[in-house]
């Protein structure tokens, strides 16, 4: 229990656990002779990934690049801008914050069929679902972050005779960054869920959600697992990317400091 564990341990142990799970999975499937239509072995999934890289790539572009990421960027920018606007008017803040907090807890995935009806089957409807899903977590977190400075700090800015923009840019936005990144982390995982869910309500003949639902019907279970692997990797990388930017932006925050 002395201080931080070494980097080798921090990466090696989880990695080892992951590999152990894969090995056990492979052994389990081989020894009990599980039919491929129920649970394919990791080696078979890997073979499926190699066999159909092209399809996986097309699906990935359709779902992740066009659907999830477009929606994530639009929704995050809109939520952030709305938070800045609401923050300027005290009346709006008192009225909208409870409403936004409430909406953020609702199962917003339910708007997926409505968006598909409004914007058609292609990626626009998927992006729209993601925009709606991502908007509220970002809005709520940004507002909470903007309120995170204390009286003393704001008074200090006033003694410097800083105007609203200066106080915002130099004090309140930096202080809000940990909150905003918290919202972004939630949003990054929601974006993928939203884009895939919307595809279950109708999609062109490509996309990860479309492929999963059709391959389940055709008992192409190894292909389903290949899509799952790709989506899992995408989700993790997207999350990791947000964490990296967070480290870079909020290097000053206590949670980011390394013990030296």
């Amino acid at each position: 229990m002395n201080g931080q564990p070494s980097l080798v341990l921090r990466i090696g142990l989880p990695l080892g656990f992951g590999i152990a799970v894969l090995v056990l999975w492979e052994l389990f499937v081989v020894t009990f002779d599980i039919p491929r239509a129920i649970l394919p072995a990791p080696s078979e999934i890997w073979a499926a990934i190699q066999r159909s890289t092209e399809i996986l790539w097309v699906d990935w572009v359709q779902t992740v690049l066009k659907g999830a990421l477009t929606g994530l960027v639009i929704g995050a920018v809109a939520g952030f801008a709305a938070a800045l606007a609401i923050d300027r008017v005290d009346f709006l803040r008192r009225g909208l914050l409870p409403v936004a907090n409430f909406v953020a807890a609702l199962p917003i995935v339910g708007v997926a069929p409505i968006m598909v009806m409004w914007f058609g089957f292609d990626w626009q409807s998927k992006a729209a679902v993601v925009v709606v899903m991502v908007f509220f977590p970002i809005l709520v977190n940004t507002l909470a972050g903007l309120a995170a400075t204390d009286r003393m700090q704001r008074d200090l800015m006033r003694t410097y005779s800083a105007n609203h923009t200066q106080t915002l840019g130099k004090l309140r936005l930096p202080a809000a960054m940990p909150f905003i990144f918290n919202g972004l982390k939630i949003s990054a995982t929601l974006a993928l869920i939203g884009a895939i869910v919307a595809e279950y309500f109708g999609s062109p003949t490509k996309g990860m959600g479309f492929r999963i639902s059709t391959e389940v019907g055709r008992l192409g279970i190894d292909m389903v697992w290949a899509e799952i692997a790709v989506s899992a990797l995408t989700g993790t990388v997207l999350y990791g990317f947000v964490v990296l930017i967070e480290r870079w932006v909020t290097f000053w925050h206590p949670s980011q400091r390394r013990s030296r």
Partner: protein, 289 residues
């Protein structure tokens, strides 16, 4: 009144925007119909027609309210068209997933706090598990649960709901079990307490406020998981399945009423859980200032 005034204004504004949106979005259809019939409707007629379409692009609030009322009150509870019936199926699964999530979250948190090895090994995977979109996994969970002899759809749906709801519990419990400070731990050491006693008498009681705080998030997550689980799994009952049916039959009223029923269910669940939280906090002697 000071607190509710702004909220009321905001809610009323949302309804006003909704009505305007209904008018604008449904007007195209009314105009098309009028052009086909060769008539030239006045403003009041257009307004009337946009507010009462069966397949409106955006149904007006009073239409959704009427459909909700119809689905909740006018249909027999056992009817397949009753929202109470579908809501109850979803509620059941949400509760099963919620319990599963709590158990899994607490067990993992205890393991992570007690063992450094589990902390280093399992914590990263707990985080990774949440970055994997559950929707992609959902059909496979159904296949596997069926192969394992689950029999009904309740089990796989509850697993999906639990998959989403265990994480908030885990994170809060880890923070809660680690919340006792050095002073308190030292005090117990001077009493000669065993590690088991430290856990039961100090760490566990200290973690309870954190535990209850996480339940609200967990129950909301469990409901989302249930609805998501009802979509790609071939379920025919439950609010998520209702949305899918509305989408397939091109009936927007079914989708909107199911969406609002889900929202109401979420509000009720969160309200109940925060009530339990308040009672628990009071019983533990907190909250009295």
């Amino acid at each position: 009144m000071k607190r509710f005034g702004p909220v009321l204004v905001v809610v009323l504004t949302i309804f006003a925007i909704w009505y305007v949106g209904s008018f604008l979005m449904n007007r195209t259809w009314v105009m098309d119909q009028a052009a086909r019939a060769g008539t030239d409707p006045g403003f009041t007629e257009v307004l009337r027609d946009t507010m009462n379409q069966d397949r409106a692009k955006l149904p007006a609030p009073h239409q959704v309210a009427a459909e909700l009322y119809d689905g909740v009150v006018n249909k027999k509870v056992t009817s397949k068209r009753s929202l109470v019936y579908h809501g109850f199926i979803t509620f059941q699964t949400t509760m099963a997933g919620f319990v599963l999530g709590i158990v899994a979250g607490v067990v993992l948190a205890v393991a992570i706090v007690l063992s450094r090895f589990a902390d280093l090994t399992l914590m990263p995977w707990a985080i990774i598990s949440q970055t994997i979109p559950v929707v992609a996994l959902a059909p496979m969970i159904v296949v596997l649960a069926n192969a394992a002899g689950a029999g009904s759809l309740l089990v796989p749906k509850a697993i999906i709901a639990g998959y989403l709801s265990f994480f908030p519990v885990l994170v809060s419990m880890v923070a809660g079990l680690r919340s006792p400070g050095g002073m308190q731990l030292d005090l117990l050491r001077t009493y000669g307490a065993s590690p088991g006693q430290v856990f039961w008498k100090l760490r566990l009681p200290a973690s309870l406020p954190y535990f209850f705080a996480s339940l609200k998030i967990a129950v909301a997550a469990s409901l989302v998981g249930t609805i998501v689980g009802e979509l790609p799994t071939g379920a025919i009952s439950g609010l998520g399945a209702r949305m899918l049916i509305g989408s397939q039959f091109g009936n927007p009223m079914i989708m909107w009423s199911a969406l609002f029923a889900a929202a109401i269910l979420a509000a009720m669940l969160i309200w109940i859980v925060s009530g339990i939280e308040k009672i628990a906090v009071r019983m533990m002697g907190g909250g009295q200032t």
